[in-house]
């Protein structure tokens, strides 16, 4: 099964985020209170190294396993929705202490009340799908 690789990459991701305590509600509080460098170090070093990797990929025109040139599809230039939607997500991020990845990983770690968080995150995504045509983007 060729999709099997994605399970492996997911397992690695789950281990990284658990071992680095990124999934911790307390660590997110520490970040939003600017009281420790840890979270900034994790996200910052991931972005800087990611930027270097993407530069190299583009310069050398590296191809994916599908044989296509690797590129990141640009996100649509919807600045209103990025700012407003982003802020709405931020409210929830600090409440739950988790963004979508950590919600799943916390459930894997046995913090089962996060099933409730996940369920209502799906409801939230569903609600957006229903009313998106009436929202500014």
């Amino acid at each position: 099964m060729k999709g099997f690789r994605f399970i492996w990459i997911g397992i690695i991701f789950g281990i990284i985020l658990t071992k680095s305590e990124v999934i911790s509600w307390y660590r997110i509080q520490e970040m939003f209170r600017f009281q420790d460098f840890h979270m900034y170090g994790v996200i910052g070093s991931a972005v800087i190294l990611g930027a270097v990797i993407i530069r190299i990929i583009k310069a050398r025109q590296v191809k994916s396993i599908l044989g296509e040139p690797i590129g990141i599809d640009p996100k649509p230039k919807n600045y209103t929705s990025a700012l407003v939607g982003g802020s709405i997500f931020g409210l929830g991020w600090a409440l739950t202490g988790a963004c979508p990845g950590p919600i799943y990983i916390l459930i894997g770690n046995g913090f089962l009340p996060y099933l409730v968080v996940l369920f209502f995150a799906v409801i939230g995504a569903f609600t957006y799908g229903l009313i998106r045509s009436r929202l500014p983007h």
Binding site: F32, A46, V47, I72, G85, G86
Partner: protein, 186 residues
């Protein structure tokens, strides 16, 4: 070796490894972004009948479902075999701030005082778990991405909408932390 891995991983190990995950996904022809999975669950649940937004071929996202399943397994494996020997080394200032809100630090990943089944039927529990979850799902889809899609993939590719979204993440997070939490705990 295992004892070494069991230690909490510092940022300079975790950050580069997240970049490696980004690379592995790009190399497999995928864009790293986890909040899309929330939408895919809606599609699988038949939401395409109610909104065209969900009328997409979920098979294009089947890789993401597998990735998410993997991340759950990764969390489980860590909790069983690689558990931290010590409680999280949270900064003393954060512990003091939370204590002044009336929230003791229990040394776990999440405060059980908030995230428990018993608390689900209190107003506080509803705000943290139900409203919190809803805002994550609604907000990430409205913004078109979350921490992985915007803050990691988008910023790495120097995309301006992702910078705007990341600023938004912080606006919301700072409002909750500094304005809403004192009200919720009062």
């Amino acid at each position: 070796m295992i004892e070494f891995i069991k230690q909490p991983w510092p940022w300079y190990v975790a950050g580069p490894m997240i970049a490696l995950v980004l690379f592995l996904l790009l190399h497999a022809g995928k864009r790293f972004g986890i909040s899309s999975s929330l939408e895919t669950v809606c599609t699988l649940g038949g939401a395409g009948k109610l909104s065209d937004y969900f009328k997409v071929d979920w098979r294009n996202r089947s890789w993401l479902i597998l990735f998410v399943v993997g991340s759950i397994i990764g969390g489980f494996l860590t909790s069983q075999f690689l558990q931290n020997p010590e409680p999280i080394d949270l900064s003393a200032a954060t512990i003091a701030d939370l204590q002044s809100l009336g929230l003791g630090y229990d040394g776990n990943y999440v405060p059980e005082q908030i995230f428990s089944w018993q608390n689900l039927f209190s107003l506080q529990g509803l705000i943290f778990m139900v409203l919190g979850g809803f805002l994550i799902g609604f907000g990430t889809r409205y913004a078109g991405g979350c921490t992985s899609g915007h803050a990691i993939s988008g910023l790495s590719d120097l995309q301006l909408p992702s910078l705007v979204a990341t600023i938004g993440f912080f606006i919301g997070g700072l409002i909750t932390t500094h304005l809403l939490l004192p009200i919720i705990f009062s």
